[in-house]
């Protein structure tokens, strides 16, 4: 067996080999593509990458510094190792670090940290819910305001209620809703990196040869001027085009497709890569909690058939920075690439089953909605008195969608949103309690049309 075949003998060996080359900056393009595919398809491969990187750092530390603990050496000031090596010396070491760093203030002053000189590329035109923006030099802000201009960076929606609308200088708009993370930049060519979740965009015609590029883990999109929505999961990218045309390249094999208006496609290594007309909307939907935690916001529990417990999702806390108060929320993603859009109609009913472990003042059930072109349309909710549910007993709520009203936290941007939930596409359904941990657990959610049920 020659060396090469030995390396390829096991998948693990091949993965280690590729990681080793990446850590030495010696990967060729074909090997990079191979490594991307291995990483994207297998969580164990991603863990391996981190483990091997940590190993190499430990190895380098030892070969450089001997057996001592890792330390920060401030080379710019020509200091030798500033820190004591013993565990007990860490505090002293940190103090030394602070002192030496302040002594180096001139370095900080002379460096271009950028934010004053950064070119603003886009402005915030709407936002709601918990959001975090990370800009140049690690500037982190949770206090974004409408009208603020940004120089690019990473925007992250931190809960199902998050919503953010950004307008580039040329009028192109990008909207993220729910838990999504998007890196955006414009250095003469707009580049978006969708790390998680999804966004919709309305893109003005772009300069010749410089289309907007959207990168996900499994695909690259080239956008010249169009309306579309895109959602990315670990192993697939879903694209739905409303207007114009988007070119999508599946990374696993390099195949490309032009997706015209009213068509959609899913780019995944293990699925057919072909156009599909955007399907007709439906009025019914049922959760897939029994299939696992995909599309779930909350702590998914597998259930135990022997004890008669169904799979469920427990609420998780999210603290609002301004008030210091906490929302205990669960949410299920409704919109997905492998099922038709779900629309709310006059006779739509929402059934929610679950339980609470403690008395709560109120229970909130709501839906997050979008327009057919992917634009955010609002969150509509109903507030139920705590007496609607009994502690430690299963509850079943059958709710009339016509009773749902706009989430009061969106009042300031009410003029941009829909008047009623009817006719809109459901992206998420959520349920939460406010300020107190009531041990909310949801076992089932279902949308149906009462007329067709009759």
């Amino acid at each position: 067996m020659n060396d090469k075949s030995k390396f390829e003998d096991s998948k693990q060996g091949r993965l280690d080999y590729l990681i080793s080359l990446q850590l030495d900056d010696e990967l060729c393009e074909a090997e990079m593509e191979e490594l991307i595919e291995l990483l994207n398809l297998d969580p164990a491969a991603r863990q391996r990458l981190v483990a091997n990187s940590l190993f190499d750092v430990q190895l380098a530390d030892i070969l450089r510094n001997g057996v001592c603990e890792p330390s920060l050496q401030i080379r710019r000031s020509n200091n030798r190792n500033l820190f004591a090596n013993s565990f007990g010396g860490v505090l002293l070491a940190v103090a030394a670090l602070i002192l030496s760093l302040f002594a180096m203030q001139w370095v900080l002053e002379s460096r271009d940290f950028g934010e004053q000189q950064d070119q603003q590329i886009a402005k915030i035109t709407g936002l709601s819910g918990p959001l975090q923006w990370t800009g140049n030099g690690g500037l982190v802000s949770n206090e974004l305001t409408v009208g603020a201009e940004l120089p690019g960076g990473t925007i992250e929606g931190q809960s199902p209620e998050s919503w953010f609308e950004l307008e580039f200088k040329d009028g192109s708009r990008v909207v993220i809703a729910g838990q999504s993370r998007l890196i955006f930049s414009d250095q003469g060519q707009k580049e978006l990196h969708l790390i998680a979740g999804g966004f919709s965009a309305s893109v003005e015609p772009q300069p010749a040869g410089k289309p907007m590029l959207v990168y996900t883990r499994t695909a690259v999109l080239e956008v010249l001027g169009t309306e579309f929505e895109v959602a990315s999961e670990l192993a697939s990218t879903f694209l739905n085009v409303t207007e114009g045309k988007v070119r999508v390249k599946r990374l696993s094999d390099g195949q490309s497709l032009d997706v015209p208006a009213k068509h959609r496609v899913t780019a995944a290594a293990d699925q057919l890569f072909e156009l599909e007309p955007t399907p007709e909307t439906v009025g019914c939907w049922k959760d897939r909690l029994s299939r696992g935690p995909r599309g779930v916001y909350g702590d998914w529990q597998p259930g135990d058939a022997s004890q008669g417990r169904k799979p469920a999702v427990k609420s998780i806390p999210h603290t609002i920075k301004e008030s210091g108060k906490t929302i205990y929320c669960t949410a299920l993603r409704v919109v997905s690439g492998d099922s038709p859009p779900v629309v709310l109609r006059r006779d739509s009913q929402l059934v929610v089953e679950g339980r609470v472990a403690k008395k709560t003042k109120s229970l909130y059930v709501g839906v997050t909605l979008q327009h057919p072109n992917g634009d955010f349309a609002g969150r509509f909710q109903i507030r139920l008195p705590g007496e609607s549910v009994t502690v430690d007993e299963n509850f079943k709520l059958d709710l009339d969608i016509e009773d749902f009203t706009l989430d009061p936290s969106l009042r300031e941007i009410q003029h941009k949103l829909a008047d009623s939930p009817l006719g809109l596409i459901v992206t998420d359904i959520w349920c939460h309690t406010l300020w107190e941990p009531a041990g909310l657990e949801i076992e089932s959610m279902e949308l149906y049309e009462s007329a067709s049920a009759d």
Binding site: S20, L49, V57, D61, R64, V67, H193, L234
Partner: protein, 179 residues
């Protein structure tokens, strides 16, 4: 020491404790220990300057990593190093890997691992050790290592992979035996 200074010290200490993971992250993105070290040191300077922007109770690791990522981009821009589409996508995958990672290893396990690694290094051949030394301690290129130890470029590439694999296996075995 006033409250502001106490907060600064607390955050810098927390950031310092993330150092190995941050180094691993920068190393995975840049493919060079010395450059990764520069990125992490610059990130630490940013942490000291902007500590008040960190919300205590949230993840210091995630905050520091976002700073390191920007430092990595800045280093690349400075060096005018072209990034191809594929390399950008690989960076996104690396980002995701570190995002998902959460260490379950205690500090005593970490120390045990480090001791085992030192012991395993002594089992290497002189030539193997020279190859590792060249790459990790002196940041030499494959070509420079080849010239130094009299090996072809391909042989250096494979030797590095083999030495590291041997060390990883040896460390695992040692740690398991101790446990």
């Amino acid at each position: 020491m006033n409250a502001k200074e106490e907060k600064r010290d607390r955050i810098v200490k927390l950031a310092f404790e993330c150092r190995v993971q941050l180094m691993a992250y920068a190393y995975a993105l840049l493919g060079d220990y010395s450059t990764a070290d520069d990125a992490v040191q610059d990130a630490m300077l940013t942490v000291v300057k902007k500590y008040d922007q960190f919300t205590e109770g949230t993840s210091i690791m995630a905050w520091c990593r976002s700073i390191v990522r920007l430092e990595v981009l800045r280093i690349r821009q400075k060096r005018h190093k072209d990034r191809t589409l594929v390399s950008r996508l690989l960076e996104d995958s690396i980002d995701q890997a570190f995002d998902e990672y959460s260490s379950t290893e205690s500090s005593s396990q970490d120390v045990r691992r480090r001791k085992a690694l030192v012991k395993c290094l002594s089992n290497l051949t002189n030539r193997g050790r020279l190859v590792l030394q060249g790459r990790f301690a002196e940041s030499l290129s494959y070509e420079q290592i080849g010239e130094k130890v009299g090996m072809s470029l391909e042989a250096v590439r494979k030797s590095l992979y083999r030495q590291k694999k041997q060390l990883r296996d040896c460390v695992e075995l040692n740690v398991r035996n101790v446990e």
